[in-house]
């Protein structure tokens, strides 16, 4: 009985949890972003304007949908380098079917399904053959890009004939807020909630944290990994369709290098490349940080030739800062609880 009291007592005593630890990390990112915003609002009169913020949000909301999938994938201990190509594939396939006479909605569904199928193929290579997702997705990055070029013959598909009702997804606004941002917010909210609460996603954490222990808990880790890989590709497909509606075109070279930006955002947001940790909110904040930095560099009139270098350095600094902070927390000596 006393032991029971001891445990229930300690339970109320500490509100520190998995979740609040994650929140602390996210809080740090929010502070960094705010600090940057304050500095920038003095440095440039254009920074603190609704137009600029809208532009920044727009610039990362579609990619943000892919970041969600990537974060889940990183948590399970896998990675997907093919997302840039898959986004493009979705646009190209959707555009192809639309030009072939299908209505844009069905064409979009087909495009997303095609991307899910690509994900399933990659997942099979990972779970059945036992290859690492890095190398599988590297191969698919090239394969899928090749498919995009083959389908389009290397020239962009012009989709100006897309009906306005479809273009509304990518270009419309509701009460002045772009639909793209609304879709993005909904996807983020849903997945952030699911990742914290749903049993399926708990299994994702188990698998990423210690695959063997997960197997020895009766979790079919291959199914979990399969699910995550397909999810990531599907979300990339969804993003592709939205891009199609936004640009009214399908360029076979679209999304080159996108995967690096996306992985960077997820890692800044606290996802571990070793699996087992990460959060959607963190990843989105990571994305926001990258976006604020990009916008600042432009507003500050930094030479475009130097922008990439600076962006890379900031990525390195953000990740190092977080790592040092996190490791210091860990290094605090912990002594086994004793009576």
């Amino acid at each position: 009985m006393s032991a029971m009291e001891e445990i229930s007592g300690s339970q109320t005593r500490s509100g520190m949890s998995w979740r609040s630890l994650g929140n602390m990390r996210e809080l740090g990112l929010v502070l960094i972003i705010l600090a940057l915003c304050v500095v920038m609002s003095f440095a440039s009169p254009y920074f603190l304007t609704w137009t600029n913020f809208r532009a920044m949000l727009l610039s990362f909301s579609i990619e943000g949908i892919v970041v969600v999938g990537m974060t889940v994938l990183l948590i399970v201990g896998a990675i997907d380098l093919s997302v840039g190509s898959v986004v493009c594939f979705s646009m190209v396939v959707g555009g192809f079917f639309f030009l072939a006479g299908l209505d844009p909605w069905s064409a979009s569904l087909l495009a997303i399904a095609a991307c899910a199928a690509i994900g399933a193929l990659m997942a099979l290579c990972v779970t059945r053959i036992g290859l690492h997702s890095f190398i599988v997705s590297l191969a698919f990055m090239v394969i899928v890009r090749g498919l995009c070029l083959a389908i389009t013959g290397g020239t962009p598909l012009s989709l100006f004939s897309l009906p306005a009702s479809f273009k509304f997804i990518g270009q419309g606004t509701v009460y002045g807020i772009p639909v793209v941002i609304i879709i993005f917010a909904v996807v983020v909210a849903i997945f952030d909630f699911l990742l914290r609460k749903a049993t399926v996603f708990r299994k994702v954490f188990y698998t990423g944290s210690n695959e063997k222990a997960a197997e020895y808990s009766g979790i079919r880790t291959n199914r979990v990994k399969f699910f995550c890989i397909v999810l990531c590709s599907t979300l990339a497909g969804l993003a592709g369709v939205i891009y199609m509606a936004r640009f009214g075109a399908a360029t076979p070279t679209f999304g080159l290098g996108m995967e690096l930006n996306i992985i960077a955002a997820a890692v800044i947001g606290g996802a571990s490349l070793k699996g087992g940790s990460g959060s959607i909110l963190g990843a989105i904040l990571g994305m926001a940080l990258l976006s604020v930095v990009s916008s600042s560099l432009i507003l500050l009139d930094v030479s475009p030739y130097w922008q990439d270098t600076i962006r890379g350095l900031i990525l390195l600094a953000a990740v190092s800062f977080d790592h040092v902070l996190h490791n210091r927390k860990k290094a605090r000596p912990q002594r086994p609880a004793r009576q």
Binding site: A198, S209, Y216, A337
Partner: protein, 506 residues
């Protein structure tokens, strides 16, 4: 009578934040002696050894090597001073050859630009020649745990060490392999090498060591000649309290009970063949055998974690032969891995999330959302039942002691209300007090009707805890021991193929 000291630690203190890991500890190692260092986990053994090896810096006190004050700033300095440290957890690179592992430190010191492989192979061959039958060209990851342990020792010896620290070297070894290790230790001792031997096993200490030092809660309790003391005394000093009987009483009535779980002609066609045995109600059944005999594989096979080619598992007379482990869990047969950190628990995840892992649905609400309050309640309930000592149920399992980590793993198994629990080395790396507690818990579960199967390499544990034991040799059942037949000698005879003395096979 004075003895030259190879190593002397004087008044060492070390604190981690507010916790005093070592307070004013002095320790002397004579030349050519085997000196046992004992204490419960957290007593300060590892901290002291890490200071001697230069991994940690003491807050106060000094270390003398051969009578001269030494400033050991890093493990590299320690190596140069002739200190070799074989860590409890094997720290070898699994993907490279044995010889390259052995030469790792030498390679590190090498000034030349290119490797000299001829020298590497030669050095490994000499180092291994005295130790045992390990192929220097083999890939290290392919070796058994005990062979890897030999490689670790060889690695330490190539550094011309005069002081060798062995941290629980027999934890992963079977009796027979341990005997080999003791031979090696005796030979090293003859060569004048001083050995610090950390272990929880009293029998080994009293058979092979010269002196014993006991640490408790970071303080030096006593140092005694082995001849002057006995295991009871040492255990009492280690825990600072009387443990009572080391093992809980057995359940003699279980010999008459009905079968709970029956395994019939189970084979995986590779590591075990035609294995048949039964677990009775209320019984703790032991599975003995040398490492590599197939004990773990049999356990994995009967739980669906390893595929079998033939045979049948039945529970209460009903065929439940599982295709997968999740099926096995559903029928109530669960398995605790021998590799706690690698496969038993999720060390980075909170305690509560560990306990719920086996059947996350149990703590979830309808469409599949984990309920934090139910999860916490479950962990609190099972934790209390097992007397789990922890700060918060949200703490990572890594913050717990070995014994408490094992309780988390046990709580996880109990969360599904199992009918049979198969435990692989349930007390490995667990201190004396927690070990006795785990034994009591297992006995208690057995009394409540849960079938318990225990695989252990530690013979006193099998003999003390189990009502009956089957002995596995080369993937087959070599015999069964119970009652008075169940003693270490008999089990070793069966495990090593010397046959049962009274010729009664299983």
């Amino acid at each position: 009578m004075t003895h030259a000291l190879a190593l002397e630690a004087r008044n060492i203190s070390k604190a981690f934040g507010p916790v005093n890991a070592l307070s004013d500890v002095s320790f002397g190692l004579r030349k050519g002696e085997v000196h046992a260092l004992v204490g419960e986990n957290g007593a300060g053994k590892s901290t002291l050894m890490n200071i001697i090896d230069g991994i940690l810096k003491p807050d106060a006190g000094e270390i003398l090597i051969d009578g001269e004050k030494a400033d050991i700033a890093s493990p590299e300095t320690a190596q140069r001073l002739g200190i070799g440290f074989v860590h409890q957890e094997i720290a070898l690179c699994p993907d490279i050859s044995v010889a390259e592992n052995i030469s790792m430190a030498a390679t590190n010191r090498r000034r030349a630009f290119l490797m000299n492989y001829a020298e590497t192979w030669a050095r490994a061959e000499t180092a291994l020649a005295n130790l045992g039958d390990v192929d220097p060209y083999a890939r290290t990851g392919d070796l058994s745990i005990s062979e890897q342990q030999i490689v670790e020792i060889a690695k330490a010896l190539t550094l011309d060490c005069s002081i060798l620290i062995l941290d629980e070297p027999t934890a992963a070894l079977t009796e027979r392999e341990a005997v080999k290790l003791f031979d090696i230790m005796a030979r090293l001792k003859q060569r004048g090498i001083s050995i610090i031997y950390i272990s929880h096993r009293m029998a080994e200490i009293f058979a092979h060591c010269d002196r014993i030092t006991v640490l408790r809660d970071g303080r030096h309790v006593c140092t005694k000649d082995v001849a002057e003391t006995d295991p009871e005394d040492i255990v009492r000093r280690m825990v600072g309290r009387h443990l009572g009987d080391l093992y809980p009483p057995k359940n003699a009535a279980s010999a008459m009970a009905d079968d709970l779980l029956a395994v019939k002609n189970l084979s995986d066609g590779e590591r075990f063949f035609d294995v048949s045995f039964a677990l009775r109600k209320g019984e703790i059944l032991g599975i003995a055998g040398l490492i590599g005999a197939g004990r773990t594989e049999i356990a994995l096979g009967l739980c669906g974690l390893r595929s079998v080619v033939s045979g049948e598992v039945s529970l209460d007379g009903e065929n439940i032969t599982p295709q997968s482990y999740s099926q096995s869990i559903a029928t109530g047969v669960v398995y605790l891995s021998e590799d706690r950190k690698g496969a038993g628990v999720f060390v980075d995840l909170p305690i509560a999330a560990n306990v719920s892992a086996l059947a996350i649905e149990q703590v979830s609400r309808k469409p599949g959302f984990v309920s934090r309050s139910r999860e916490q309640a479950q962990a609190a309930r099972l934790g209390a039942a097992l007397k789990l000592k922890c700060g918060s149920l949200d703490d990572a399992v890594a913050t717990l002691s070995g014994g408490n980590q094992q309780k988390v793993a046990l709580a996880k198994l109990l969360s599904v209300g199992p009918k049979v629990i198969v435990l692989d080395e349930p007390t490995r790396g667990v201190d004396v007090g927690a070990k006795a507690e785990i034994h009591r818990i297992l006995r208690d579960l057995a009394t409540r009707g849960i079938g318990i199967i225990v695989i252990s390499s530690e013979l006193p544990e099998l003999v003390g805890l189990c009502d009956r034991a089957i002995v596995i040799r080369e993937g087959r059942i070599a015999g069964e021991v119970t009652g008075d037949d169940m003693n270490e000698e008999e089990i070793i005879r069966l495990a090593s193929g010397m046959g049962q003395r009274n010729g009664r096979g299983a």
